[in-house]
């Protein structure tokens, strides 16, 4: 282990372009996973909140299984089960991109559904009682009273999930999806500066995640603005 670090690969436009392309791919994967995952997450979240056991038990099982198993196992299993033939979109091999994305979306949906459920439960019961006593239906209550308030609770935690997913995308390197760690793997094969490459990759992940958590803090403050009075 030498202490003299040599970052000379950053002078090479080829290395830099590989790393930046990898960073772009990481961001796209994380964005897609969180957005699609959030939409999908509404289903288990509302199912778990339902008083009907036939709905809440499968949803609980889904969430517990996904949260209780490693992401790597999920990706490998889904790759094995989803046998998508090789075809290209924009030069990207969908045979590995799609199973990877599906695994990430499923994983993200389980976590986000818990965030949504927690956000809804955190809204005071009095709100429901008040709106129901005003003659609103259950659906109207959910849509106009509970969900708008729940979003305030959900949003900051969703930012955390986004940060987590950005980091989780690194396992895609095994599938051959050209995200950041995949590109690091390519550069590592022909460069002795392995320590430096890992440091650079870490900094690039931070560049994605740090502003994001700052942005989430900002949005959270804006949402809480009305509460302060």
């Amino acid at each position: 282990m030498t202490l003299f670090l040599n970052f000379s690969f950053l002078n090479n436009p080829y290395s830099v372009s590989l790393l930046l392309q990898g960073l772009g791919m990481t961001l796209i994967l994380a964005l897609l996973a969180v957005c699609l995952g959030s939409i999908l997450a509404l289903i288990p979240a509302l199912m778990r909140l339902s008083p009907i056991k036939a709905l809440s038990i499968p949803a609980t099982a889904y969430v517990e299984i996904i949260r209780g198993t490693p992401m790597l196992v999920q990706v490998l299993l889904i790759y094995q089960l989803l046998n998508i033939p090789l075809f290209l979109i924009g030069g990207i091999d969908m045979g590995s991109f799609v199973p990877g994305l599906v695994a990430l979306v499923i994983n993200s949906s389980a976590y986000v559904s818990e965030i949504i459920r927690g956000g809804i439960l955190a809204v005071d019961r009095g709100q429901t009682e008040a709106s129901r006593s005003l003659g609103m239906t259950q659906r109207q209550t959910m849509q106009h009273i509970i969900l708008p308030q729940a979003i305030k609770n959900i949003f900051p935690a969703l930012g955390n999930e986004f940060v987590t997913i950005i980091k989780e995308t690194s396992i895609f390197m095994y599938l051959g999806v050209a995200e950041l760690m995949y590109q690091v793997g390519i550069l590592k094969a022909s460069s002795p500066a392995v320590t430096e490459l890992y440091i650079t990759a870490g900094i690039l992940y931070l560049i994605l995640t740090y502003p994001l958590s700052k942005l989430m803090n900002f949005i959270e403050r804006r949402l809480r603005h009305a509460d302060a009075k």
């Binding site: 282990m1 436009p13 080829y14 372009s17 590989l18 392309q21 990898g22 772009g24 791919m25 796209i28 964005l31 897609l32 957005c35 699609l36 939409i39 790759y79 094995q80 046998n83 998508i84 033939p85 090789l86 290209l88 979109i89 924009g90 030069g91 990207i92 091999d93 045979g95 590995s96 390197m173 095994y174 599938l175 051959g176 999806v177 050209a178 995949y182 590109q183 793997g185 390519i186 590592k188 094969a189 022909s190 002795p192 392995v194």
Partner: protein
């Protein structure tokens, strides 16, 4: 609202993918304009001089190496262009079994358990063309003058997961601790940092590293008589493709091409 969001995501996906199109794990080689379609090969391109990724003449990544040259020869024999898919070694056999790709060339050693899942061609590297070596750090040359000297408790010996070298490590250094890792470059890095004492690998792989300036010395491994070399893997029962591949390999060995490529890419 949701439809709008969804269409935005799809738009973002398409734009994003288009933007990233220049960097991918798929490498196309147009061998001849008149050829129709592609034959696809899976590999794990982290294994110089057999297959690894470098900057191409156009500034984009491309994959080069001895195995790629062999694949091009096979593609020529089939009158097709070549498409190379790069992913983790563990996925390759599954990909050819399920028919996602036509064949694998990835320094794959035919083992009985693998032969149950896929069919193998004849070997294209044999003991005569590829030596087996043990790499040590150049600072430790006096400490470990022979392979036997590494056979001590507490010595850490590296080998790549799923490779024949794992068996050699167990055979030649049974007393040592074996560190079996999937990524050969990680093992090379460990050896540079002296996190392992030695690394079992193939001669050309070792030589390419040493030529690139790695601080290693190689000890040649003698008496490796059950080494079966490396072969091309195809889907079980695909005899037509296997016959073509075997005849291409025969030609390449007879014409000395493989030895020539080994020398070219190790330099």
């Amino acid at each position: 609202m949701k439809k709008l969001l969804l269409s935005l995501f799809v738009l973002g996906l398409i734009l994003g993918l288009a933007g990233c199109g220049s960097s991918s794990n798929v490498f196309d080689f147009i061998l001849d304009e008149s050829y129709d379609g592609f034959v696809t090969m899976a590999t794990s391109a982290d294994y110089a001089p057999y297959e690894w990724i470098v900057e191409g003449t156009d500034g984009k990544s491309t994959v080069v190496g001895v195995d790629i040259e062999i694949a091009k020869a096979i593609a020529h024999a089939l009158n097709k262009n070549l498409r190379v898919i790069h992913k983790g070694f563990d996925f390759l056999i599954e990909d050819v079994r399920s028919g996602k790709v036509d064949f694998i060339i990835a320094g794959l050693t035919p083992t009985p358990s693998r032969a149950e899942i896929i069919d193998f061609s004849q070997s294209y590297y044999t003991e005569e063309s590829v030596t087996q070596v043990v790499l040590i750090h150049q600072d430790n040359v006096n400490l470990y003058p022979t392979v036997e000297s590494l056979n001590q408790a507490g010595k850490r010996i590296g080998a790549q997961t799923g490779s024949i070298q794992v068996e050699f490590a167990q055979l030649f250094t049974p007393l040592a601790t074996h560190k079996v890792v999937a990524d050969i470059n990680e093992l090379m890095n460990n050896l540079t940092n002296k996190q392992i004492e030695a690394l079992f690998t193939e001669g050309p792989v070792a030589q390419t590293r040493i030529n690139a300036g790695a601080p290693f010395v190689q000890l040649v491994l003698d008496g490796v008589d059950h080494y079966q070399g490396n072969a091309v893997g195809v889907k079980k029962g695909n005899t037509a493709l296997l016959n073509t591949i075997n005849s291409v390999i025969d030609d390449l060995i007879a014409s000395g091409k493989i030895a020539e490529w080994l020398e070219l890419y190790s330099a």
